[in-house]
Symmetry: C2
Amino acid sequence: MTTAHELTKNQTLVFNTLSRAEGPLSAYTILDQLRGDGFRAPLQVYRALEKLLDYGMVHRLESINAFVACAHPHNHSHNHGMIAFAICEKCGQVSEFSDDIITQRVREWTTQNGFKQTKTTIEIRGVCAACGTA
Amino acid sequence: MTTAHELTKNQTLVFNTLSRAEGPLSAYTILDQLRGDGFRAPLQVYRALEKLLDYGMVHRLESINAFVACAHPHNHSHNHGMIAFAICEKCGQVSEFSDDIITQRVREWTTQNGFKQTKTTIEIRGVCAACGTA
DNA sequence: TTGACTAATGTAATAACATCACATATCGAG
DNA sequence: CTCGATATGTGATGTTATTACATTAGTCAA
């Protein structure tokens, strides 16, 4: 069962910062936004992020070294599909989606090759519809 | 037509270093291996890598901040499929593969959402067959 | 050849991202 | 209360990447 996690003070602060943000934030941007709340060192942010990532409440975007609050209020227990991110390089907006066929194809490859996957990153960089037409 | 690129001295050194390597290397590891050839600063490596990435001769692994020589002697002109990487966290070996269905599914999503993709990253982290059974 | 342009290179400094090491505090179980 | 586990505070350090500026090398036209 996926209980709603009790967040600690720092985890709550970091999560709220990410939730309020328009787009992804770097750890150091989060730090700066939380100076007023007593944050002084990167580690305070990274430690909170680590837990939030564990809980599936936050995603890390590897290609831009940044973090976003998870868009879906999932139920992580079921629905183990891989999540893909489309990141707009103009406005920074991130769209999150999950595709069963992609998930399945990846699993097929890993199964056939005896590869035990632990984490999969799918990130599409480009320009979103809004920025493309503007 | 994709002409074989004339590489400069530094590009050649960096490419050869990556080609000889068992697995992916960080820019700073490459730098260290090229000290004997007169390399002194990170920028010498990053500049060469930038070109090699342009030419499609090298890939960047976003999830581990490292670089590998491209496994396929492709023909980049055709075959615009997205490339996926399976990265073993035990031994560092990287397997490269391309899946038309995944490529197509991603394109469907981007088309439907008016997203103009420029680059796509697919990286599977885990443990390879050899390390899994060992 | 000269001059002017472009691409490549060299170098130092700095920025951006992330972790280590160690001390202190908080909280629940027994 | 006391022990152990988890969370936190803090400084230093490690790792990755870029900026800024000077220099060198190659190309091509007049």
